[in-house]
Subunit: 212 residues, 2 copies
């Protein structure tokens, strides 16, 4: 029934929204996506949306009669409540390897290239220089860390939360920041393979946009 579907408040180009959209798709959880335009009309700043997320950011997910915010809190809630198919490895060390990679993206790259930072710089050039520096530095760290964990995907041969963080961030790096990721061979190879997986094809921003 439609009433029982989860509601994802998201923006098609938002990397944090993509993490949650991919987790919902991977686990086969029925959901309806409602677009919050954070770029042109600033819908995240309305009082209506503030009631959903006081931080006035996407994504937010209404599920099981609760409203959850912060993408990493949401995807881990989905993992807790819908453990299969799993998005986390079985051993503590592999889970730590996965979380190291997630954190490099979540705290090391994403906040420092966010579109919300633009107005804090005098010129677009300053903003671009800043975002490119931190994205590039994060990608270098990912390349190093992946030597310890990568298989077919970021951690061995299982799609995990690390892949859900990596793909959207690389899409940003390549399309929005026009970064050359070929100097990071492991990162590049994983990105190319992962984009062919259904979970990323079906939840890709371009796919979401085409249905809007």
């Amino acid at each position: 029934m439609a009433e029982n579907r989860a509601i994802l408040y998201a923006y098609w180009l938002s990397s944090c929204s993509w993490r949650v959209r991919a987790a919902l798709h991977f686990k086969g959880i029925p959901f309806e996506e409602r677009s919050i335009d954070i770029v042109k009309t600033n819908q995240q700043k309305t009082e209506q949306f503030r009631a959903i997320n006081p931080a006035q950011k996407v994504p937010a997910l209404v599920i099981d009669n609760v409203t959850l915010v912060e993408s990493m809190a949401i995807v881990q809630y989905l993992e807790d409540t819908h453990p299969e198919p799993a998005l986390t490895p079985k051993t503590p060390v592999l889970r730590a390897r996965m979380r190291e990679l997630c954190e490099v993206v979540v705290s090391g790259i994403q906040p420092l290239q966010n579109i919300g930072l633009r107005s804090h710089f005098d010129t677009t050039e300053q903003y671009t220089k800043f975002t490119k520096y931190w994205t590039d530095r994060g990608l270098k760290t990912l390349e190093d860390l992946l030597q310890k964990s990568a298989g077919k995907y970021c951690v061995g041969d299982q799609i995990t939360l690390a892949d859900l963080c990596l793909v959207p961030q690389l899409y940003n790096a390549v399309t929005r920041h026009a970064l050359d990721i070929s100097k990071y061979p492991t990162v590049s190879k994983l990105y190319e393979s992962l984009l062919k997986e259904n979970v990323f094809k079906e939840t890709h921003p371009e796919s979401v946009k085409s249905k809007m």
Copy 2:
């Protein structure tokens, strides 16, 4: 035996180091702290430390014959391998509430006030304005979110990972950024109570510094 103790590479003033130091203390895991001076002598940039953490950041933890990096990956590894005393609530919704708070600090505040950003701004004034804006915005979000979860601590009456994120970030906000946190009554009250808890008294930067 000394050889079996975990080794924490950390800096006394680093908020991310404090998260891990507090988790180790809370769980009663024996550890030795080795100081990496990230401010005066840039020890994190040496080749020796790069072998420990390719991201050249603190903290890093050597435990169970593996080297782990990224504070949130480390504290969750400790929670996985030493589940008692617990630092996470028992229900999925409360765990999500905890993680929402963690994420506001970990991705919403900490990266945007990090000392490493200073060199990216022309003047100290620009850097200060930027860091204060994002810290203040994050604290406002925390104040809002805490209305749903706070009890004696951030999530009910149990010390959790959210408290381990909150206290070090507030210490930075108050001491380094000289922010007035009294306009956030829930945040302020929690900070004051938490600082009286042994886990934060024993692992406080001033306590670490006094032993150096």
